[in-house]
Symmetry: C2
Subunit: 388 residues, 2 copies
């Protein structure tokens, strides 16, 4: 499954020794064609890791033959040497694929990295690792690739949607620093549908805008976020753009939900529905403000339906609303009506992992959903010990 | 000391029974003149508590005779009844002061409340409490007033600056939800300088802009923030506006620093200096972004000089900078130079409570200082159990 669910792709995941604990840390995904169209979406953080800068450049022509990904080091804030290392990594992939009979230049190889910031990658381990990964490329290698990109993820994340004769599949990693504008998140999606770069780009941007971009685990935005979509055309089917975009969105939605479900230290997944907003932008702004309110995140952790903190968060936005017309439900109980006390908060059952907060702005007909996590002592422990 | 350090003021702090634990919860501050000029700054949260709405109205004419403050309940999100209660509170203060011979209307009485959101105040306890407080008004009551406004504060906060024949003093409460646009923070400042409402307003806005507005404990903004400055003119001295503004700023700076030092669950006070910014707004935007990065706040808690998280936070702003010219020092050690690895991070000593992060944007000559706290398991525990 994963990136090899679609026809026309091989993948591998191996331990190159980049991670000191010996866990898998290098993944390779290769598009065996016949088409090699691709699209990508990257972090909006202005401090971008070397592999992000590289991959944005090589994607400019809408074609990719391979993606190499490593965990165990982000290659961010590493200066000119870091960029040279990324370049050398792509060159090495081109070289080993060439030796296997696939003619490819470094400019057709995207690179993605995740792990600690500010540390150079151990190239003496990474480059031999690429040879090892190339030797293990397989049409069944998708799951191993998904495992090799994990950092603090407790599970690997994959998703597949199959339609009439074509498939979209993918893998994701990410367990913290999940925030709008993407997250410390690496995602590779593949499809055997016959779609050109423009169609891929449109579908991918449309999907990330309402999925990965609306996941806000802890308000922090990474330097390395990368989402790639590669099309092999191996199915020989060209789906309608709408149907294709819908399939890409389904896979992204599934992966985004898995990311929230595995966020570092979290004990709750919070679905924030903002309804009756004047505009979709208003709904998103309000949803993010609620998602990032540390006091509310603590309250949800404590299973306390603290709607006052929801109102307080809404009040910091520029969205259209009247304070005395706001309504808030927590798990379906309207604990705040017209900006004041509503139904009995003791009716709210918060025992389960998923918690839904509904914020009714009473200002229009637009809506948006933002996913967040609670704030826990485990989050603090995990992130006060781990340099990333 | 506190609000009675300046001549022309009496104050009291008593236990009215609003707090169920019997601790002091009601404070009264009275300006005995001869002047009754006043200015105020309030939360920029659009969801404003009833006492904020009330006090903004009564301050419109630049005069106040008294301020009544309660802890144990914020009277926020309490609808029309909440506003009626605030009005009744001011009326009661006017009545009891009138009975003591001070002719005053409810429109000269500011009200401030702090505590839980979404719960009506127990007026059957609050109103008799006002009588009790009025009976205890004293020129030495400042400290008791400061104690009565505490919520989760572990210590009461007061400050006094005395100049040539005139004094500015004050009290503050606040231990969480400290964020730009003020905090869950109630502050009453008094002076016996003979300054009119316009001079007070100018001095107070100038001071809060660079003190309370640059304190960002947890990124959360309250519904109740209130900072008042009352002038009695009792010293008979009219200081130069600059000297007066400077004294007000000193008192605000001292109180703001005390607020950060007592933030809920914090183990570190983080001084974030942004230097060489193109504009002061850029410096403030970058400082706030750093201040609100949960991952960095966790790292500081773990005494981990994680400069990658600082760069990651800077990268989310719109400030003018080039990523490869950014420099970051932690406690004086330049761990990041030119956007990449700098001096040995092991040189950074983070054992003490105060931590200084210096972010050099290399883009100009402007600067700003933002104060923040670390993120700790104690913060989570305190805020997952306490409904506010």
């Amino acid at each position: 499954m994963s990136v090899t669910a679609a026809k026309g792709f091989t993948a591998a995941g191996i331990a190159a020794g980049i991670k000191q604990n010996g866990n898998p840390d290098l993944a390779l995904v290769v598009n065996t064609g016949p088409r090699r169209a691709a699209a990508g979406v990257f972090t909006s953080n202005r401090v971008k890791a070397a592999p992000v800068v590289w991959s944005q450049q090589v994607l400019a022509d809408g074609e990719l033959t391979a993606v190499v990904l490593n965990s165990g080091g982000a290659n961010a804030c590493t200066g000119p040497k870091g960029f040279q290392d990324t370049h050398a990594t792509a060159e090495k992939v081109a070289e080993v694929l060439g030796a296997k009979g696939t003619e490819v230049g470094a400019g057709e190889v995207a690179v993605a990295s995740t792990g600690l910031i500010g540390i150079l990658l151990p190239m003496d381990k990474l480059l031999p690792g690429i040879e090892k990964a190339a030797a293990e490329l397989s049409e069944h290698g998708g799951e191993k690739a998904a495992i090799a990109i994990k950092t603090t993820d407790t599970v690997h994340k994959t998703s597949v949607v199959t339609k009439d004769g074509w498939t979209v599949g993918g893998m994701a990693k990410g367990a913290g620093m999940l925030a709008p504008g993407l997250a410390t998140m690496l995602v590779v999606l593949t499809t055997d549908a016959d779609v050109d770069a423009k169609g891929l780009d449109s579908a991918l941007r449309g999907a990330t805008r309402v999925t990965f971009d609306r996941v806000d685990s802890d308000g922090c935005m990474s330097t390395n976020d990368t989402v790639l979509l590669l099309a092999s055309g191996a199915s020989g089917v060209t789906p309608a753009q709408d149907a294709f975009a819908q399939a890409v969105r389904e896979v992204c939605d599934d992966l985004a939900r898995q990311l929230i479900g595995d966020a570092e230290g979290a004990s709750k997944d919070i679905r924030i529905e903002v309804v009756n907003a004047a505009t979709e932008d208003d709904a998103v702004e309000v949803g993010r403000s609620i998602a990032r309110n540390n006091l509310l995140k603590c309250a949800i952790h404590g299973e306390d339906p603290n709607w006052g903190r929801v109102l307080s968060a809404i009040g910091t936005t520029r969205a259209a609303f009247e304070p005395d017309r706001l309504n808030v439900a927590i798990n379906g109980v309207w604990v705040c009506r017209n900006g004041s006390v509503g139904d009995d908060r003791d009716l709210v059952d918060m025992r389960y992992r998923e918690v839904t907060i509904t914020a009714d702005l009473a200002a229009g007909t637009e809506s948006a959903v933002i996913w967040a996590n609670d704030l826990t002592a485990d989050y603090v422990h995990e992130n006060s010990a781990y340099s990333s």
